[in-house]
Symmetry: C2
């Protein structure tokens, strides 16, 4: 017997990726368009509609039982709308209704991209088999998601796990979100690079002033570059420890470009966790790199669609 | 038909309270002993056993279906043990097995005292009917618990919701837990009093240097006293906002002696929340006083026992 498929859509500021995904997480069909992020909302939706049309033209489409959307946030799963920071043409854009109309009224599930990444790592990656996990993306921004009691915890609006915007330094630098001292304000790639430059680190002859270049300098022993990663690690550790104290997680999975720095990030992160995760029930958190890579978005959107379909048949107490 | 009852035990550093509680949260029978906290573990258990014996001597005892224990932490629900900071004679004390032996092998559920208070507020108090809530006690320490998706979230070890020991000031003052800048280190009653004294506030002729006395001075307009409460409110706001960003809560319920300061605490807390809870999905958190008072511990222990008995009959996915 042929099993059901999920149609998965991953909406980001750079590209819109789609896939048909089977119940074991394999990508049978892919479709992608660049996101025309600087254009009006209808043009952005045109690109999304092209991705859907390309998937719907395939014979496998008839087996699609549900549609999952992972989107750059903020999202509002309650109202089925998205307002991605990097797509100004979409504000309260009713993506669930619009995609529903394109996909024959199949159930459509919307989650934030951090939640989608988490669903992917829990289903197929580094958080597989874990009952309580935090998964994070540390990149241009810092996002995340939670698995609690063995299940994805998207929260009522699909935004839960927003670890990038918890304040770990209540008197710290203002964050674009309006608060101060947020994890993202200290630990994101651009902030790692900014801090290194402010303290005197200079890029090499190629002019690369990215966090990856700071990581290379740190690996070569540059103390300012190392310090910038250590400060990022400290903020991440405080955020991970806070999450563990609040909901009890056994593992933190970290992906995204900054995690690509490897031990330059992970070694000070594990050290800093010993400073901040001190209570008996949080002391043994594992910290590991993510495994899902660039497919995490679509695989996770498919996972969210599948969990949601299961939920529909589960009696609630 | 007579309904089932729960036996509830609330173990604190000052007293051990017990009750028989019906399925509507009414306390039918009470028993209490002072906690001999400075004595050996067997003596402490003797006091607990007396509370149980007093309950078990009542005719209502035959209707007891389950036993709930809420204990000062840390607790370890996985192993059924407790190691309350303020009861040094109990370290990894097997309270679940010992109470089970006294209560005829009825099911025994163990949660931390913050989780128990949360169960009480969700069942009968200020978080009633709320699907996603944080409940806190701000007192000598700062504790808490979470309701997620309409259900208590104790976490695997029964300690979830430990908001007092999340760091909101990663370079801040060392906390007895080993970390720095924890919410409790800034917002607990003793820390409110300490900060006021350090900045020049002086108690009145009665010599009362408690947080309640600082609150009275703040109410009378003393700027140092006001500042100390404002700083506590800022730390609580950062912690509540972090919780909302991580799990999406709609309401924060605050009890404990410091919450008794009323608007001296709640007014700056609501202001500070506007500074830290800035994302669209966290912006509208309600902050309200707790309603359950001193019975929260036993009512909550009973609620945890009842939820756990229900869970036993719910199929898991």
């Amino acid at each position: 017997m042929q099993t059901n498929l999920s149609a998965a859509l991953d909406i980001g500021g750079t590209k819109i990726a789609g896939a048909l995904v089977d119940d074991r997480g394999r990508l049978l069909v892919r479709a992608t368009r660049p996101t025309p992020a600087d254009q009006d909302g209808a043009t952005v939706f045109g690109a999304l509609a092209e991705v859907v049309a390309e998937l719907a033209a395939r014979p496998e489409w008839d087996r699609v039982a549900a549609v999952g959307i992972g989107s750059a946030g903020p999202v509002d799963a309650r109202h089925g709308t998205v307002s991605p920071v990097n797509i100004p043409g979409w504000r309260d854009f009713p993506v669930v209704a619009e995609v529903g109309a394109l996909t024959g009224r199949r159930p459509v599930v919307l989650v934030g991209d951090g939640v989608a990444m988490t669903a992917a790592e829990h289903w197929q990656g580094a958080a597989r088999g874990r009952a309580n996990a935090l998964c994070m993306v540390v990149s241009t921004g810092v996002g995340g998601g939670l698995v609690l009691n063995g299940r994805l915890h998207p929260g009522p609006t699909g935004n839960a796990g927003h670890i990038g915007h918890i304040s770990v330094d209540l008197d710290g630098d203002p964050c674009p979100c309006g608060a101060r001292g947020c994890v993202e304000r200290i630990a994101s790639g651009p902030n790692i690079a900014r801090r290194a430059l402010e303290r005197g680190w200079r890029p090499g002859p190629d002019g690369d002033a990215s966090a990856a270049a700071v990581a290379a300098a740190a690996r070569a022993g540059d103390p300012v570059a190392r310090h910038s990663f250590e400060r990022a690690a400290q903020a991440l550790a405080a955020g991970i420890a806070a999450t563990a104290a609040l909901v009890e997680i056994e593992i933190a999975v970290i992906g995204g470009g900054v995690a690509g720095a490897g031990e330059v990030l992970f070694a000070p992160l594990r050290r800093a966790l010993r400073d901040y995760a001190t209570l008996s029930f949080v002391r043994n958190i594992e910290v590991v790199p993510a495994q899902m890579g660039t497919d995490a978005g679509v695989v996770g959107a498919a996972a969210a669609a599948q969990q949601s379909c299961l939920d529909a048949f589960v009696p609630t107490v």
